[in-house]
């Protein structure tokens, strides 16, 4: 983590002056769009791609070196990807990331077995498994489009919590998408998560994304509905006492919730977005994106000898960076937002004060 903090001023200079050239610290890998959920808020499961092979991922990850600190292995359903364990091993071997984060719907019986294999292979990375939960009981099944999904979620949660006892580098979270379908039962979700035994409860607003083919769909709650929901989430986070690293992550979480509220209200980036500088995504077919919301095609790794640097320091990305810096886009994408907050001095200062004096300063 100190290495990441040392790079913050360098990323700030890179975004502003184009120098020094930096590889991203936060990378999302999407090995496959295939998914066994049928969510009302996502259409990625219908996509089929000419997916990168493990040999291709190997070359790509080697080209990144140890620059990435935080990997998210996304999907589709990432644990359905047959090479998920090998992919995590490759990321670990080449990049030695501090964090590997995997969201999962909890449907697959083989999920915990695969997660165990990743934990055994990546002992020096913190592995975070975030189980998706969009409602309690049948409400979850309805939103996720799979009968019996909630029951499987509970089975899987129990298995992951048991696994946590064996691996100190394992964090188990619950992740909820706040959409028009779930915003009405947020209190129930908070209450469930609170007694679940999970290490963290995180939420993200349902937003249109090119990646998910949800552009134009009415899935996002109104700013008023979301503001009311977020106030309850902030009250929940602030009402608990955290120790160690959790104090920092929860302080960032409150900052994130407030940031989203402002983004929706002001329809603006609010703080500078570092997608395309500090964060990136590699899609299943080898296309590099700055983020999954815009999904600009920055180039395909297959056309660049699997050298990520060729794309990242190439010509095509320049226009996309200009567009992002000119605030031609804004969104509350959590993955990019957490990196953006880390680069934002006022945000980091408020988090610092909150961590040092949790009871005296309200994080704004």
């Amino acid at each position: 983590m100190p290495g990441v903090l040392a790079r913050i001023p360098l990323f700030q200079a890179y975004r502003r002056f184009g120098w020094p050239k930096m590889l991203p610290i936060n990378i999302t890998l999407s090995p496959s769009p295939k998914c066994n959920s049928r969510c009302l808020t996502c259409n990625i499961w219908m996509k089929r791609e000419n997916e990168l092979t493990l040999a291709e991922w190997d070359k790509t990850l080697a080209s990144l070196g140890t620059a990435p600190y935080w990997f998210t292995i996304s999907g589709g359903e990432p644990l359905m990807f047959p090479g998920i364990v090998e992919l995590a091993k490759l990321a670990y071997k080449h990049c030695q990331p501090g964090i590997i984060n995997i969201p999962t719907n909890g449907i697959l019986h083989s999920g915990p077995e695969r997660v165990r294999a990743i934990l055994e292979s990546c002992p020096n990375s913190q592995l975070i498994i975030n189980l998706s939960l969009d409602g309690v009981g049948e409400k979850h099944d309805f939103i996720r489009g799979v009968v019996g999904n909630f029951e499987k979620f509970e089975e899987r949660l129990e298995q992951y919590l048991a696994l946590r006892q064996e691996f100190p580098n394992f964090t188990v979270g619950i992740h909820s998408v706040i959409s028009v379908f779930s915003v009405g039962h947020l209190d129930e979700l908070i209450a469930y998560a609170d007694q679940s035994g999970a290490d963290q409860f995180i939420t993200e607003i349902a937003e249109p994304r090119v990646e998910l083919d949800t552009v134009g769909l009415p899935i996002t709650p109104s700013p008023e509905e979301y503001a009311a929901a977020i106030d309850r989430l902030i009250a929940y986070v602030n009402g608990k006492r955290y120790k160690g690293v959790a104090r920092i992550t929860e302080a960032f979480r409150v900052e994130y919730y407030k940031l989203v509220k402002r983004i929706l209200d002001e329809q603006d980036q609010v703080i500078a977005c570092y997608a395309g500088w500090a964060s990136a995504q590699i899609y299943a077919d080898g296309t590099v994106w700055p983020c999954c919301v815009r999904a600009d095609n920055l180039g395909n790794l297959r056309d660049h000898n699997y050298d990520f640097k060729e794309i990242w320091f190439g010509e095509k990305i320049k226009e996309v960076r200009r567009s992002i810096a000119a605030k031609e886009c804004h969104c509350p994408l959590a993955n990019a937002s957490y990196t953006n907050m880390l680069m934002d001095v006022p945000t980091v200062s408020r988090v610092g004060v909150k961590v040092i004096k949790p009871d005296t300063i309200e994080v704004r």
Binding site: R38, M46, E207, P218, E328, C329
Partner: protein
């Protein structure tokens, strides 16, 4: 509407060569697998060519019957601003 910029941005994106085939195949699979997709609509390019003016923005097509984009007479080629949009069952119910 929230994130209106993304609607515009999406329309302005250069289309892959296989845009129609790939997108319609995706929706066909979605309907076959009994997802919550009810069909496909076309959001026409507001500044589009003459061919796009004839598109019915309210029509919901089965993927097999949807016009292929870009339209045959489109003058913008892969920069055609007409896009497919999935139509979900919950949208049909609310109508």
């Amino acid at each position: 509407m929230a994130f209106e910029w993304l609607n515009k941005f999406h329309k302005e994106m250069e289309k892959p060569v296989d845009y129609a085939q790939k997108t319609l195949a995706q929706y066909r699979l979605g309907m076959k697998a009994k997802g919550s997709i009810a069909g496909v609509a076309i959001a026409p390019d507001e500044n589009g060519c003459a061919a796009s003016k004839g598109l019915d923005a309210t029509a919901v097509y089965h993927p097999d019957d949807a016009p292929h984009l870009p339209l045959p007479d489109c003058t913008k080629g892969r920069h055609c601003g007409c896009v497919y949009r999935p139509v979900m069952t919950y949208q049909m119910k609310s109508q």
